[in-house]
Amino acid sequence: MFIRFFYTLKEVGIPVTPTSFLTLQKALQKDLILSIDDFYTCARSILIKSERYFDLYDQVFAFYFEGIPLPENDGFEVDEIAQAMLDEWLKNPKQLADALGVNESELKKLTPEELIEYFKERLKDQKGQHHGGKKWIGTGGTSPVGHSGHHPGGMRVGGESRNKSAVKVANERRYKDYSTTGPLTEANMGEALKRLRNMVPVGPKDKINIDETIKETMRNGGEIELLFDRSLKDRLKIVLVIDNGGWSMDPYISMVQTLFDYSKSQFKEIKTYFFHNTIYDYVWEDPARHRKPYKVDDFLKVDPDTRFIVVGDASMAPYELMAQDGSIHMSERSGKPSLERLKFINETFPNSVWLNPVSERMWGYTHSIMAISQIFSMYELSLDGLEKAVETLMKKN
């Protein structure tokens, strides 16, 4: 019973398992569920294993039992695309203005908020898919915006991208083939974890070594001699700072987080912060980089023995790194160029590395990568790179 309900849950993306569905059947059979309210709570507690899906569950429940249509997630995607366009605009106003077919100086009069609104309007103008036309976002046309098109200075929306600093990919994120894009993939996660294990354990000598104790006791003629080993508790503290700003970083964020999450028990403490492109005065504790800012100056308070790991593609316009007010976010302009900030961090934490998902061969082509790799020891986010990075992190000073 309720098989269609089960499949609807699966379709909207909730990980439900057949086993739990059978458990629900068992509960139904035992007459434990007597009303629709019972069904609501019981089915939820049996089928849904994370509060993140509670909202989706509610929607599906309302859809299945009361026929309320499932909402479409248009709003969110339009927001994301508009944000991407704003980033683009800040990097290269002329190109985007040309692409939209409007005067650059007109757009310049708008504040960022107004710009976002404007972009949204334009996006909403375009109803449905648009392929092969001349006007707006779609595929295979001559329009400057869209993918697989011909316009030379075009901006890509969706599709595959190579030169990541100029291109924003904003389409069908869920179907991205993660496994082929990155040097480090889900498949070799286990191997990557092994690399991290080399972050050697140091702990108090509080674990009794029974074999050695027996041996020594025998040698002592029965006089008990207790021998202790260092317990396998790693006392390393890790600060992980992740660039979650651009689409280019998308496939790697969750991977890096999973990587460190799984090895969490090995470390004393892992703190994760986020930034966009490069670090200015603040990094953020929340992935949205909005609610919980953390002052970069406050890193001084952190134990300098902490291992500081930055994950980012380090690809950006040079001025973002060098200029005194390089940040594309007004509120973080304090007059110190990002380059100085990075130097400060590197000096604060003698053991720091930068992991870059961009393949090492390509580093020479991007100015900002070269500049940052002169400050941080930079390694490719691959198994080899990870191994070398761990080596650097564990080096005695």
Partner: protein
């Protein structure tokens, strides 16, 4: 199977625990299906208290396993006390029989719950603290409701399936196979209405105005932007106790924006400062 109609086996709240009906039915169905119930939610939403409440209202003994970060599952099952045995064999002055290994096997919390004559409530508190191995190892034990004592080659089987409550504070999900064996519930932070009920259960005699004002102020303070550790129910209860005990404090002070003992609510210094600033700003208006 547990009979739901039998009032002895039906959980409907306890003396000092305010239960919403949703949670009650989830607890009851988990007991009936004999599945562990995994509870998540902000600290202070009463995850741990629920186990105490179940044990109190159903008259079952409660066994608490506080999970620690370095804990291995074996410690929760049983411990073979080699050191004592070694010591006994050396001095020979104890009453224990050194040649009998069983004398040196001590049951851990899960072991105790299995060995108990009566059905017990087993609370596994903050399971996320231990590493994933702990959870994975526990799967077998949960499934079979039995484990081996390697030293004596004996199998300990649960006489009665304990009522298992597992709590987790983690943002990160537990492993999928583990989740598959549990029922899940996320306890939301109580809304003001619920909070009033909770307070009146804890302080039946309290001045209405004081409770009302304190709860209002509490929710306002909780909503201050950027607070790192939000005060929870536990803090509110302690705070009201403090306010109640202070003879110089009057309920109308809170309405005027005078909020004493902020340290009871906010335990981190930046939070405290921020709350203090906000509170004093309020009093100007």
């Amino acid at each position: 199977m547990t009979d739901l109609k039998n009032p002895d086996n039906h959980f409907s709240g306890a003396n000092k625990y305010v239960l919403d009906s949703e949670l009650a039915s989830i607890v009851n169905i988990s007991m009936a299906l004999e599945m562990p119930l995994l509870l998540k939610g902000e600290p202070g939403t009463g995850k741990t208290m629920l186990a105490y409440a179940i044990s109190e209202s159903l008259g079952m003994p409660l066994i608490v396993l506080n999970v620690k970060s370095s804990m291995k599952l074996i410690e929760a099952l049983y411990q073979y006390d080699t050191l004592t045995r070694l010591n006994d064999s050396r001095f020979g002055d104890s009453t224990r029989d050194v040649s009998n290994i069983e004398e040196y096997i001590k049951m851990g919390k899960i072991g105790q719950a299995f060995a108990a004559e009566k059905r017990v409530v087993l609370l596994i508190d903050e399971i996320d603290k231990a590493d994933t191995d702990f959870q994975d190892d526990m799967l077998d034990v949960l499934d079979q409701m039995q484990f081996d004592i390697i030293e004596t080659d004996k199998v300990v089987t649960a006489k009665q399936r304990p009522v298992m409550i597992i709590t987790s504070n983690a943002k990160k999900d537990l492993s999928d196979p583990f989740l598959g064996r549990c029922n899940f519930h996320h306890i939301a932070f109580p809304d003001p209405k619920m909070m009033r009920k909770i307070i009146s259960v804890h302080f039946p005699e309290i001045d209405k105005k004081l409770a009302e004002g304190a709860i209002d102020a509490f929710f306002t303070l909780r909503n201050i932007e950027g607070i790192e550790k939000k005060p929870a129910t536990r803090e509110l209860i302690n705070w009201i106790r403090a306010l109640d005990a202070d003879p110089d404090f009057h309920a109308k002070d809170i309405i005027k924006g005078k909020i004493p003992y902020l340290g009871v609510l906010f335990k981190k210094s930046p939070d405290y400062q921020r709350a203090k600033d906000t509170a004093s700003r309020r009093s100007i208006f």
